[in-house]
């Protein structure tokens, strides 16, 4: 009886675990990282989730963040290497739910507010690279990225990262 109950709990648990979010193992970017000064082939260490970073990171602090690209219908800035990422703990709609834009986290808008950061990929002068992040890094919506750079905070609590290194850790299906 206990075995049956345990099995059922495991089964239900696994269904819930896979229902909302699905992540996949690391994937190779479509862009060649050997010729790209911003894209790295090995994962930077010490990455912290966006939500934690918003609570702990101070202005001008070097930090490594991890998150899914998303937070709105259009998370990328056209013509500039900039985008928003959301803490991996925030669930987005699964493929089975039929949502055409799961990266906008439409069901978790309140959660997103406290778990979002803006990433600006900058050159050695600190200027945002004038090329779409999709082309520059080979990333897309819901890509799981690890980004390293210098944090900018403002009085409203917004977190922006001037990123110099980006690692593509995975891509949600």
């Amino acid at each position: 009886m206990h075995v049956k109950f345990f099995s059922l709990t495991l089964l239900v648990g696994s269904v819930f675990a896979t229902g909302c979010t699905s992540s996949s193992p690391p994937v190779a970017s479509s862009v060649d990282s050997s010729n790209n000064p911003y894209l790295v082939s090995s994962e930077p260490s010490g990455a912290i989730p966006v939500g934690t970073a918003r609570e702990t990171v101070t202005d001008k602090q070097d930090v490594t963040l991890i998150g899914h690209i998303g937070g709105s219908q259009k998370p990328f800035v056209d013509g500039m290497a900039a985008f928003t990422i959301v803490d991996p703990k925030v669930a987005y709609c699964g493929a089975a739910e039929g949502c055409p834009t799961p990266w906008d986290y439409c069901c978790e808008q309140n959660e997103v507010k406290q778990n979002i950061a803006t990433i600006k990929v900058v050159d050695s002068n600190g200027t945002t690279v004038a090329q779409s992040a999709k082309e520059l890094l080979g990333v897309k919506e819901l890509s799981l990225v690890v980004v390293q750079g210098n944090a900018q905070r403002d009085e409203a609590g917004n977190l922006t990262l001037l990123a110099t290194k980006v690692f593509l850790k995975g891509q949600a299906k």
């Binding site: 937070g71 500039m80 900039a82 928003t84 803006t118 409203a156 917004n158």
Partner: protein
């Protein structure tokens, strides 16, 4: 030498005069077909032009990220214009005034003094900076609105479905439980603003008991990248803003109305098809009664090709005349007629493209209507055709 000659041009013309009733009826049918085509193409051209001229290539709209693609649903903080002005160095300035227009926009019931029922109107609360940003807007009559006053676009009459004199300067309208005096009328170069009613922003905020805005429209200096505005919106996640170039916004509306445009083109196709079948029917009748005449022409030495060309000339002459009559009716009677639609109103445009299309279809009707019956008649043996009744 004789065998290679075509029939004289006036032979085709005289033939049309031989049966005046039939010719006039055919001409009428062709003119109606081309007129219908002109009306539908004029509708498509009007809709496209209205959306195309509504966007300014230097203007950027900033609105709520939760509004998705519908600016009407947007609500943003009242401090947004000040934040944008302070944060974006690329905003155009003149004599110290930034080209930043805060606006409150809504669709609401508007009642004119002469109507019992109210129509759905589009009201925009603006500041005196609005004409600097909405550069196509021109006052046609009257003055810029003072408190308690509005200016109305020249197509607002169509949008509200009321008499034109009820929106004249000095008249009164009512919306949001308040009466407003019309202080002026304006045009916007055929853009979508022409179907709107504009009043002072504080006035509208007061009657709506709202302090927020729908959007901020701004003009960037030449060479400044609109992506910088988008980047600002992404960085200020607390404000929940998004931006879009105004031309891009209206291009997205064009996509929104694509099914309607496709349907209109389908109607053009159907009307053209019906016109071709009507033309075929008429020409079959006309040619069938002339079997002996056409056989006689062959007997005296005219080649089938020459007779075919003459019949096509007849058809084209008739259809070209029909197209000209249709154009002569459409340009004064249809061009400029206002049509109401969800976003406001636009005018039917019988422009060069519409005329070219209508004329082309008209000529095609003449050619396609004449060739099959002519081939059928000319294919028969001359000796047998000479005895035809």
């Amino acid at each position: 030498m004789f065998r290679s000659r075509l029939l004289p041009w006036d032979y085709a013309v005289r033939n049309l005069m031989r049966r005046p009733t039939r010719t006039v009826l055919t001409l009428g049918a062709l003119a109606v077909v081309v007129l219908l085509i002109l009306v539908v193409v004029g509708f498509i051209r009007g809709l496209e032009s209205s959306l195309a001229v509504s966007g300014d290539s230097h203007a950027v709209l900033v609105y709520s990220v939760t509004a998705e693609d519908n600016i009407e649903n947007s609500a943003i903080a009242a401090r947004t214009p000040a934040l944008l002005t302070a944060s974006l160095p690329g905003i155009q300035k003149r004599y110290g005034v930034s080209y930043v227009s805060p606006e409150l926009y809504l669709g609401t019931r508007v009642k004119t003094s002469e109507t019992v029922l109210s129509g759905l109107g589009l009201v925009r609360g603006v500041t005196p900076v609005a004409p600097m940003v909405r550069r196509g807007v021109r006052l046609l009559a009257g003055n810029w609105p003072k408190p308690g006053e509005v200016i109305v676009g020249r197509l607002a009459v169509s949008k509200l479905g009321c008499e034109s004199n009820s929106l004249s300067v000095g008249s009164q309208i009512e919306f949001e439980n308040r009466r407003w005096r019309i202080s002026g009328t304006f045009a916007a170069g055929g853009g979508s603003f022409e179907s709107e009613i504009w009043c002072q922003l504080p006035d509208l905020q007061q009657v709506l008991k709202r302090q927020d805005l729908s959007l901020v429209a701004l003009i960037l200096k030449p060479g400044f990248n609109p992506a910088e505005v988008n980047l600002f919106c992404k960085q200020r996640t607390d404000l929940e803003l998004q931006s879009i170039a105004e031309t891009e916004y209206y291009a997205s509306l064009q996509k929104h109305y694509k099914p309607m445009r496709l349907l209109a083109w389908f109607v053009v196709l159907l009307v053209s098809g019906a016109g071709i079948f009507a033309g075929l029917n008429v020409m079959y009748g006309a040619v069938a009664g002339r079997v002996r005449e056409l056989a006689t022409l062959q007997a005296i030495g005219y080649r089938r090709r020459a007779i075919l060309v003459s019949l096509v000339q007849e058809g084209m002459l008739l259809s070209a005349t029909g197209a000209l009559i249709a154009a002569a009716i459409a340009v004064p009677a249809v061009n400029g007629v206002a049509v109401r639609f969800t976003m406001g109103a636009f005018v039917l445009r019988i422009d060069t493209v519409a005329l070219l299309f209508g004329g082309g279809i008209g000529l095609l009707l003449g050619i396609l209507g004449a060739i099959p019956p002519a081939i059928k008649v000319l294919r028969g043996p001359v000796a047998q055709s000479l005895k035809a009744i």
